[in-house]
């Protein structure tokens, strides 16, 4: 009897959680802060600096959404999450959105009941080799010893890749990225394989980064993107289109430098006008005012500027745009039309 009462109370609490989560936009506005889940620290993607200010590629998405909804890119409560706590934090309503280099997979989208609103970084598994090895393609790695994290999808991808190309390899199992870094530098393996962005940041920490290269082959798909809970599509739309506004801004040539000028009066390009709210009523359709996208872009610039500032080729991480270039530049970053 007592047990049923207890379970009943839990159910009611659960229902209350579900019901109040339905209008995330109202909650965020009432709170005056966006609760955004980020990683506890990943070079270039999210980390607090010496003054405790969060910076990074994923952080920029949070700030853009906060600027679009609340008008202030700093109105964000960054909630650090680990790989283990991130999904429960989002599902329980502790955070409004998660921007934490999370791979978009079938089961996460469906079974875990989340909505991935887009892909802000197309990652994939790559290979790091010393220049002295004289290898320019992963297909030349026949007979190589490979440092590989055990129990991950990277292990399976590696086996598939080598079998498909009919070459052999010898795995050196490791547990963590730090261990992989040490083993690779100590010469325990010819090449180290994990996600390409991870390889880049690992290489950036080396004493002589230029002695090592990341091979051009990418052998798996790891689309990383921000996500929200199932069930509040209006909120999902806001996050999705804020992100696409950043991507479209780069395509249209809207930068943090010229946005003031472009938004002052309607210009010749009608799509720019619609994005910046000088023409049409796009903002009202997602429950915001017409300058939402202008504010989102003003915070950190367009997608390309955010990329260059945090993880681009001029930073120590030095990632090339590759797949993440605009579709007009040979990449697959492609924002649907704003109309």
């Amino acid at each position: 009897m007592k047990k049923t009462v207890f379970l009943g109370a839990l159910t009611v609490a659960g229902l209350a959680a579900g019901a109040s989560a339905a209008a995330t936009l109202d909650d965020v506005k009432a709170r005056g802060k966006l609760n955004c889940g980020v990683t506890t620290g990943l070079v270039g993607f999210a980390a607090p600096d010496a003054n405790g200010v969060w910076e990074g590629f994923d952080v920029a998405v949070c700030r853009a959404v906060a600027a679009a909804v609340l008008g202030d890119g700093n109105a964000v409560e960054f909630v650090p999450t680990t790989g283990k706590t991130r999904f429960t934090a989002l599902a329980s309503g502790e955070i409004d959105m998660l921007a934490r280099n999370t791979t978009w997979t079938f089961s996460r989208d469906t079974d875990l009941k989340f909505d991935f609103v887009g892909v802000n970084y197309y990652d994939g598994q790559g290979f790091l080799v010393p220049k002295s090895l004289g290898v320019s393609s992963a297909k030349e790695l026949d007979g190589a010893t490979v440092c590989i994290q055990t129990g991950t999808t990277t292990e399976l991808n590696l086996a598939d890749f080598f079998r498909a190309n009919n070459i052999s390899y010898e795995p050196v199992p490791i547990e963590t990225n730090a261990e992989g870094q040490q083993q690779y530098l100590a010469g325990a393996c010819d090449t180290y394989t994990t996600d390409a962005s991870g390889l880049a940041s690992t290489r950036a920490a080396f004493e002589n980064p230029t002695d090592h290269v990341i091979l051009p082959e990418i052998i798996s798909k790891e689309p990383l993107g921000p996500l929200v809970r199932h069930g509040d599509n209006d909120w999902g739309d806001i996050v999705r289109w804020t992100f696409y506004a950043l991507v479209a801004a780069e395509e249209m040539g809207i930068t943090s430098a010229n946005i003031g000028e472009l938004s002052a009066a309607p210009g010749a390009n009608p799509e720019i006008n619609r994005i910046l709210g000088t023409e049409g009523e796009l903002g009202a359709m997602i429950g915001l005012d017409n300058e939402w996208a202008k504010r989102a872009i003003s915070v950190g610039g367009n997608y390309g500027e955010i990329f260059e500032k945090n993880i681009g080729e001029k930073t120590p991480i030095g990632l090339a745009r590759g797949l993440n270039a605009q579709w007009t530049q040979g990449g697959i970053m492609y924002a649907p039309p704003f109309r």
């Binding site: 839990l10 959680a17 506890t40 607090p48 909630v79 934090a89 329980s92």
Partner: protein, 429 residues
Amino acid sequence: MSRDQFAFVRKHMLPEAPPPATQTGAIKWLRENLFSSPGNALLTIVSAYVVFQIVISATPWFLNGVWDSPSLSACREILDGKTGACFAVLSERWNQLLFGFKYPSELYWRPGLAFLLLFIAAAPVLFGKIFPRKMLIFTGLYPFVAYWLIWGGSLMVPIFALLGVLVGAFVYRRMVTVNAGIAVIVAFVAALVFWILSGYVTAPMENVLAIEAVASRDMGGFMINLMLGVVCVSLSLPLGILLALGRQSSMPIIKWICVVFIEFIRGVPLITLLFVANVVLAYFLPPGTNFDLILRVIIMITMFSSAYIAEVIRGGLAALPRGQYEAADSLGLDYAQAMQLIILPQALKISIPGIVNVAVGLFKDTTLVSVISMFDIVGMIRGPILASSEWNGVYWELFGFACVLFFITCYGISQYSQWLERQLRTDHR
């Protein structure tokens, strides 16, 4: 036989000669302890060689250490190929390592002061014979003072919390003549009612005597480890005693509650309890309820360590000869008096090494909170500091620093417990 038949006769006593060189001082010590047999001599030489190698290779790393540099790459430029540590990460991120990255920097003096006051508060408890008993009043006030200093906010909150404790104590005094067990329960309920009611009073007085408030989310660094360690050890000791006594109780319900609690908690890993505190509770509590994360973690760690301490104390209780219990009964003491005056002082003395063992282990286990995304010192190192583009790749210096902090604290605890054991030794061994 006349005297001159002898070539030499000693006329004086010889002065005392010093013992042979092999039987005294350093040489004797060396012979006895390091070179007493060929096998030991060999081991000594090999170990000396290993120690020498370690010192030789580690010394330049320490001596060439760079203390002032903005980033790891700058460090490497300064070292210019030489072996050397980059201690600059410690000096640049010193405050973050101690206080976390969000605690307002102009308020660092508050947790610092709370830390200093901790020694004053702990002194009369730890060294009862040396410090006056009146200092215990400050010890009683300390939790409220420390809470106010670290979290800030209105002074009314800790004051009303203190008043609640006083109400409980008053009720207990009144009721204890009736029955000690009932008195404890009634006093607890009275304090609880007072706290709930005072919530309505303090809410509108948010700004009365207020200092700047700091949210639990903003705390981090070694401060969290110390807070969790101190609070959980001091809470779990009395709880553990109650559980141990409850487990030996002749009242079946109390006995079974204690047995089930202890066995359940001991059968579950601490990290699971922490995940429950962080993740599962978030599902059960209605959204918007602000059930403080640090409070949740404190409850879980306290439950965990009190179960262990209960078993340690049960060992102490079991070690007492039955005659002690019978002697207490024959003097006409009731249960509370017998426990307080005869059984517990002896049982606790036996349990000291075990309790200290649990306390040291608990203090080190506080680093586990880094897996539930709290930024204790290990969380700070693994997360923000190693993930910054300046310091990515500095491992030895940071983790070495964390080791030093923990070693100092744990070694201090262990030395204190040994001193205490010597103080309490009453037998003639």
